[in-house]
Symmetry: C2
Subunit: 319 residues, 2 copies
């Protein structure tokens, strides 16, 4: 667990800078500054052999994914992307690494245009290791403060913005797998924040699998959660691969890289404005009073039995 804790522990010990308030605990840091909207910044790498496999994964889609993982973090906080930077290390030992790097960067550039997050700078080096593309994203708050994981309240409805599971499986009709081709929910998040206003209590994006991610929202909010497994929307390819309900639930909870949003909405929330047609919300459970300590999630089968999720989700490997 060194990986997750190392930087977070240092961040929490950082000396405050006058005029800058730093919000902690989410994938993006929030910099509140006088005289301007809050800024959000984050960095996430994709590493050959860890987050993608050359030459199996098309490099254009790897570049796209490198940006879109960061944009999913922007979506999680209902912010608007401003710009991105790329730190590229080209692996000297990989055959065709230079050509792949060019294609990766082209894929990133295409996605940057598509999702209005222009590439404004970066650095390229080569080294005796795997090709790595670290993307930094800069975003800004629009019209409302950034949404965090920390606001869920007892009684809230838990929702997701799209189907879960099967992110590594080939897509339908020869489409690439979801983890390489997903649409980060930036526009959906802005529409949800606009439509629900203060009734949108908490939000996060699902990258490690619901079984791993949902407890983080519960812990940050100091509540417990109940999730109805039968209510989980499951990606079609995962439904086809897993006919049995239990296998299907495990896929939806543990495959990871869904890049959908998990929301806690006030129980009486109704949208003040129409949601765009491509934004679908599925209620999957509810926020309940906290146990001691808070942060527990009960995964409920249709007959109300608890379901064991031990080992499900993408555990960040220790070095």
């Amino acid at each position: 667990m060194l990986e997750r804790d190392l930087i977070q522990a240092l961040v929490e010990k950082a000396t405050p800078q006058p005029g800058v308030t730093v919000g902690l605990g989410d994938d993006l840091a929030v910099l509140e500054r006088p005289g301007g909207p809050a800024l959000l910044v984050g960095v996430d790498p994709v590493i050959a052999g860890v987050h993608f496999d050359p030459p199996r994964d098309p490099p254009e889609l790897v570049g796209r994914k490198a940006l879109c993982r960061n944009l999913s973090d922007v979506a999680a906080m209902a912010a608007r992307p401003v710009a991105c930077l790329a730190a590229l290390t080209i692996g000297r030992r990989e055959t065709g690494a230079a050509e792949h790097a060019v294609a990766m960067m082209q894929g990133l550039q295409d996605a940057a245009g598509l999702f209005r997050c222009p590439l404004v700078g970066g650095d390229t080096a080569s080294a005796d290791g795997p090709t790595t593309l670290s993307v930094t994203v800069v975003a800004e708050a629009v019209d409302h403060p950034p949404i965090t994981r920390a606001g869920a309240q007892t009684g809230d409805v838990l929702c997701v913005t799209g189907p879960l599971g099967g992110s590594l499986l080939p897509g339908p009709q020869g489409q690439p797998p979801h983890h390489l081709a997903f649409t980060p929910r930036v526009d959906a998040a802005l529409a949800l924040a606009q439509a629900f206003g203060g009734d949108l209590h908490a939000m996060m994006d699902l990258s490690d699998g619901l079984a791993m991610d949902a407890p983080h929202l519960a812990q940050a909010s100091g509540v417990d959660l109940e999730v109805d497994l039968d209510a989980l929307p499951v990606r079609t390819v995962a439904q086809q691969a897993h006919p049995a309900p239990e296998a299907r639930w495990r896929s939806a909870l543990g495959d990871g890289e869904d890049y959908e949003l998990l929301l806690a909405l006030a129980p009486d929330a109704s949208p003040r404005a129409a949601l765009p047609p491509d934004v679908t919300l599925t209620a999957i459970g509810r926020v309940v009073a906290p146990s001691s300590p808070p942060g527990r999630v009960a995964w409920l089968t249709p007959d109300g039995r608890p379901f064991d999720t031990t080992g499900l989700g993408w555990e960040h490997a220790a070095p």
Copy 2:
């Protein structure tokens, strides 16, 4: 030359984002936004085996350097640091890499406190390659627009803020070498911008060696330069290592990693406010009318002969 050109070429082709004006051509991207000061963002990695050598280089100093290289970019534009992020990849094959990574991050954190650029986020992973620490820096313009490389005018005086050369040599009295222990010229740059106002025409930091860097300022400004080799301030350890003038000049021009500032000042410039005592300016030459194409630098010996600088400076390795 893939490395330098790849990202820059894409940056120049990026789709503009409404409300964001991107300044190009320097180490930091400048984001001009309505309703707030200009933001500056950049990213620079340090890679084991490329920018540092474990276990020879103390990891605390490597972490310090990872931040300070970025702060030197902030200084180059006379901006103020706001915050930094760290993307750390721990090399699985390196003995003691996890402990080194902890020490590196502690060194970065200490420097972040010292130079008022708090660590606000990041990501850690491990991979089968060299330990890499990519630092993203966010800065903001204060009181004046960011200074660029592009404003030098014929007749300007060229100055540097400190001695050059010998950055890899052990420091005096067992001190670490300059490239691991330098002070980024952030405060000096802010004081210079304040003191000289509009008479400070152009500025950049010296990271690849004056022989490699000065032509970039000349090209960006569309001018030529003349540098008097005898006027170059040379670091004491480099003077001691190189008694002969020509070897000394080569060290000052080509060792790189000086992290001092190169400035073009109006010929009649005088400071409107006292400079802090630790800011020293040494005139090393002048800006002259451009040849066609512009961007040439004449390196002049004391008897006025040109000096060949071919091969001097840190050429970014092609993959």
